[in-house]
Assembly symmetry: D2
Homo-oligomer: 301 residues x 4
């Protein structure tokens, strides 16, 4: 399915990510981890382009490292580099790691409903070459955006989902997704995902919601915010867990509002923040800049 | 007590507020209100310097207007202007109004505890002539800031308040405040005010708190925010009502934080936002830019 | 041409702008202007929905007022209201004024070149009903965006313009525009307009440019900004005058950048600010919130 | 002179910087640098707390690395670590490096004139323990702030400087500074430093200026900004070079303003940004987060 996907047009003559890979490592901190990792890379004559490291406690906390390196003939060398890292990191230090060539974009499915602002912003940025992703498909419980999505050259699947029992819809989702995507983005998808679906789909899911939570739970949050006279409206992008809207936060932002704004205007300003925040979260996830740890994230910008 | 108060030094040769007054009007909207108000001012040959008006619903909602006008010989003319407004507005239209010469600063008492960032920022801005207020006194349940406050030429009263029964302390507060202040600022005052105190003191009270509410209730909000991995910390200034931390919001703001910030750094950044937000709320209240309505505010900036 | 234009879909069941008009008045300040204006509106039983007034100097400066009022049967009454305002304002006080029914959107032509981010953002917001405008046409010196523009139901005209002599292209522009538009938006139109064109077209022109000016004049501003190590990139929307990029500013904004951002990433972040700033400038102009005065603007938000 | 300096009060029971050092390395990028550095640290059983690395071009650009590490008994071990780094980095790779124990705050002289907002903000943050610096002295060409500075327990020196010939004043400055400070902060010091002074003093100098440059050069920038109708005012902190106001930028920020703000209010808002931006620049410099390279900076936040 992704074979016909338009690759993002390169913005620069020479693709800077050619022959570059990103390595994420995390686990229990101990002395010598940075040296061990860079020794493996050095042995392969890989050049470190950027390296961000964080320990949440210098005395026995958790260790996080993101390394981008370049190596001529990366594709051929990657299996051996991975083998050496596995020996050093998994077996030597009991660390988790993830190694990926940057030239291979992550494959994503976008779930949407009627509101199209987040969906279109992602498709549009993708077409401009701003997002290193491969949009495998858009799935929606409404048919409204089908023509628009397909005009971007992206497959659109309409999977209706009404009533409390989502099992039929979720079964269809799993069929479409299996093996085809590396992560999922809920671009204002107004359906709750079951815990079983989250577990079975097995890839990270990014969601966007307004930032009033837990202040204005339930329907009509902007009307409640108007009544409360808030001076800021915002949005939060987070990974989906079984605790609805409570998963690890990736990004947040706000905009100013005032008493003269109607509920409709609050919603519009909120929509602007939502699409900006979601696009940053998707970009950072696609570039492997986000590491989950407990119920929070490390974001190496 | 306020006789010895240092007046804010004028920043410009000619005080722009001399011979200026501010008029606040609010009530049920109906046709002809702006015309009626400006007719009274026109009759007195007062020149309107700025006028902000807002109706929350063009069909029978609430009406809010802030007018600043200048008039040569304001002091002598004010009683007659007020009389004419009363006849027109209170009696003719059943509106509430407030009229005040801008050259007379509002008198304020600042309540503080150990944390001094909000207190010092207010005193410092006041000394620089940025706040059109007269700081009548600082009241604290700790003696730590006495010397610093007095170095600004401002009376400091230490009123200890421990244990659940605040009645003795609050009685002392009322004695100090009675007739001396036009509003109160809680500059990180870490004691809860009783409903009885709020009612008996009879002047508006402005409070500042971190903006996580209602997310991280209780002790250690920044530690909880750290654990949750928030990407923004903020502050909210609001009027105090009996519903703790739930009164009408005057101003809010946020700053970005990231995973590398410790709880101490979150607190410092939070303190920076707190003092900025509180100083804006105090300025706007002092300039009669804030109108309370239900549980929200109209802020004419 | 505009007959087939899709009207923005109403977002709310009852259009709040039905039977509403906006009145802009400006000129030399003197006592009694607000009263005179509201007396005319009161005589017609028009209800003032919002009123913003500003004097840039209480002693003989300039006067600016924006009034939104509602009146049942507005369309029928407008000519008589306008007549009475003319008698009062133009003849009585020598003021300039502009009166317009809010239900009639302003007609705009958008000029674009190859970069499509500002163009598409405007078309998209328009389709969502966020901009009270009627997009009469898009004119471009490149044909690239023709299909996309027409997919929004908007006429696209390709007017090539190369070489230093723009007179043929500008003549064609004038033919297309004459009588059809109320203002023009340059959405990253990379051609300089002649002073003669600006004068002959006779409607306001809004432009957007990066905010480094006058720092990084000429080609490659982002490369220069990268070399200088700026920590913010921004955008400015302004009215076009003969002094290139020096006309009255309508809106400005910035985003943070850092040393790790490449020139391409600076451009992307710059593009995000550009489209946000331009869309706010267009909205405010379309709602008659912007008054030009000398080389600056009064913006009533 | 610095012996009597109040050390910043620790905010947390256990000082997190005890036994921690910061290492800055920069020079020409080549394969193996990170490995070489971490090998030296690993040999000494130092634990890397945080590591930020940046290459401005993966193919033969410049290399920048900031490493914070902890080591039990740091003080005793530091000379040997430095020796090993010198052998590895200076001699092996021709890199520049800087190694410093974090528990030893940098010593700073603050230069000020009449405006006290930046000066007081630094002294106040320092007293609160927010800035890991040792304020060795304040030097001013005006005596106005002497008492206030000394109330913070900090020496104040009044060095008048009038007329075009600064050589006498600068000679006195050099006498006061020689051997006593690690960097200088110009906290709105309204005198131009000679190129000879900058060279002879031999330590980094941080300056703060409004961000309109080069737009509104010379006297009265805020009056010019008001006339131009800018919608943002800002501030830039930078290292001082012989090119006045053109040195490497450390930090920038802005605040929104509008047409209703007077020149005085623009100045106040500008002052708020100035003190915020300067305090961040001083903090980052004090924590060795800023690396100068050509005419720009790498800031590892």
């Amino acid at each position: 399915m992704t074979l016909t996907q338009n690759a993002p047009a390169p913005l620069t003559p020479a693709d800077p990510t050619a022959d570059q890979a990103v390595l994420i490592v995390h686990g229990r901190d101990r002395t010598g981890l940075v040296a061990a990792i860079s020794a493996v890379l050095g042995k392969h004559e890989a050049n470190i382009v950027s390296l961000d490291q964080h320990s949440d406690n210098p005395h026995g906390g958790a260790f996080f490292q993101r390394t981008v390196f370049s190596k001529a003939g990366l594709e051929a060398a990657l299996p051996q580099i991975e083998h050496d890292l596995r020996v050093q990191l998994s077996e030597g230090f009991d660390l988790e790691y993830n190694l990926r060539a940057l030239s291979v974009p992550k494959r994503v499915a976008i779930f949407a409903s009627k509101a199209d602002h987040c969906l279109l912003d992602l498709l549009w940025r993708h077409r401009r070459g701003e997002l290193p992703i491969n949009v495998a498909m858009v799935i929606s419980n409404h048919a409204d955006t089908a023509a628009e999505v397909r005009s971007f050259g992206i497959p659109f699947f309409h999977v209706p989902s009404s009533g409390p029992d989502k099992s039929a819809a979720e079964a269809q989702h799993l069929t479409l997704l299996a093996g085809n995507v590396d992560f999922i983005v809920l671009a204002r998808y107004m359906q709750i995902l079951s815990g079983e679906f989250i577990e079975r789909v097995g890839v990270p899911i990014i969601n966007i919601h307004h930032s009033f939570l837990p202040a204005f739970i339930g329907a009509g949050p902007y009307a409640k915010a108007k009544q409360r006279g808030v001076k800021l409206v915002g949005a939060t992008a987070h990974y989906v867990t079984e605790d609805l809207d409570e998963g690890p936060i990736i990004e947040q932002d706000v905009v100013r509002v005032n008493h003269a704004h109607t509920v409709t205007e609050l919603q519009r300003r909120g929509a602007d923040v939502e699409r900006a925040v979601l696009s940053r979260a998707v970009l950072w996830h696609a570039e492997d800049r986000v590491i989950r740890h407990g119920n929070h994230t490390i974001v190496f910008q």
